[in-house]
Amino acid sequence: MRAQISLDLLFAFVLVTLTMLNLIYLSNSEIAHAESFDVMAKVRVFSTEIVDHTAKVYAVGEGYSLKEEPPQIEGAEFNITFNGAENKIIVNVTVNGKSYWVVKNSTVPIANASIVVESGGEFWIKTVKIGDMLYANITKGTNGN
């Protein structure tokens, strides 16, 4: 009688294990997905912030600089490019050999500039006068100059 119970248990255990293995497999891949998604969400917030702050700096006008800090992502390198010709702001983040990037339209005129910064670093958004026109610009200078 005791042997019968343990056999039943064994079968039930096998079936439960099958289901659990499937679940574990699914959750593993979800974790990998969540990890890359964490970076994507941060890049998205960061890029929106830059576009937003660029417009603000431009609105305040000449001589105004705003300090920016990239989000905390381990081992990340941020490459921020202002493309004045097409009026596009490109944020490219490289984490462990994987690259994440987004191209956004700037709402204000911008100069041509490109900087590379790491998590924990800082950079400035400022205005620059070229000819008679005022442009928003990005720089790594210590105090915005």
């Binding site: 079968f11 079936l15 497999y25 699914l26 890359s36 890049v43 690259s99 994440y100 987004v102």
Partner: protein, 156 residues
């Protein structure tokens, strides 16, 4: 007397065991089959929702399966607000057909060229890479079953 009782118990035990084994033989195949179908639907859903998340976030990456969606993102300037509207599965003996309907409120997204094709390509690649599906010249299979995926994008 004593030996015959013992023999009787042994025969009862054989009966009980045989009933358990017959039950097992009947239950296990259908359980495994059902489990395979449920797993396929679960995997496809998870993969489609990855694609939708990726497109809605709008950040491009060069990671393998995601790069299949980059041609779409290059044509999108704002959040497409895609969502999974319905997911149905039809199961026959050797085939599982899954129809996924995505919805977006924007006509410009709905009419994007090869939107559904790109998402399908991503889902197939993702299933092969992350969920142990196999791809024989474009025919997906999992657990000995052929899996057909049809993705459709509608407005609303």
């Amino acid at each position: 007397m004593r030996t015959s009782r013992r023999a009787q118990t042994a025969i009862e035990m054989v009966f009980i065991l045989s009933i358990i084994f017959i039950g097992l033989i009947l239950i296990v195949p259908s359980y495994v089959e059902n489990n395979t179908n449920v797993a396929i639907v679960g995997y496809v859903r998870s993969s489609v929702s990855k694609a939708v998340d990726y497109l809605n976030t709008g950040i491009m990456t060069n990671e393998e399966p995601y790069s299949y969606l980059n041609p779409i993102l290059a044509n999108i300037t704002e959040n497409p607000h895609l969502s999974i509207k319905s997911l149905t599965s039809e199961e026959t003996g050797s085939e599982v057909t899954i129809k996924v309907t995505l919805s977006t409120p924007f006509q410009s997204i709905e009419t994007l060229p090869s939107l559904a094709e790109n998402i399908t390509a991503f889902v197939k690649k993702d299933l092969v890479e992350n969920f142990r599906f196999t791809d024989n010249n474009g025919v997906l299979s999992y657990g000995g079953k052929t899996v057909n995926i049809e993705i459709d994008v509608v407005r609303g």
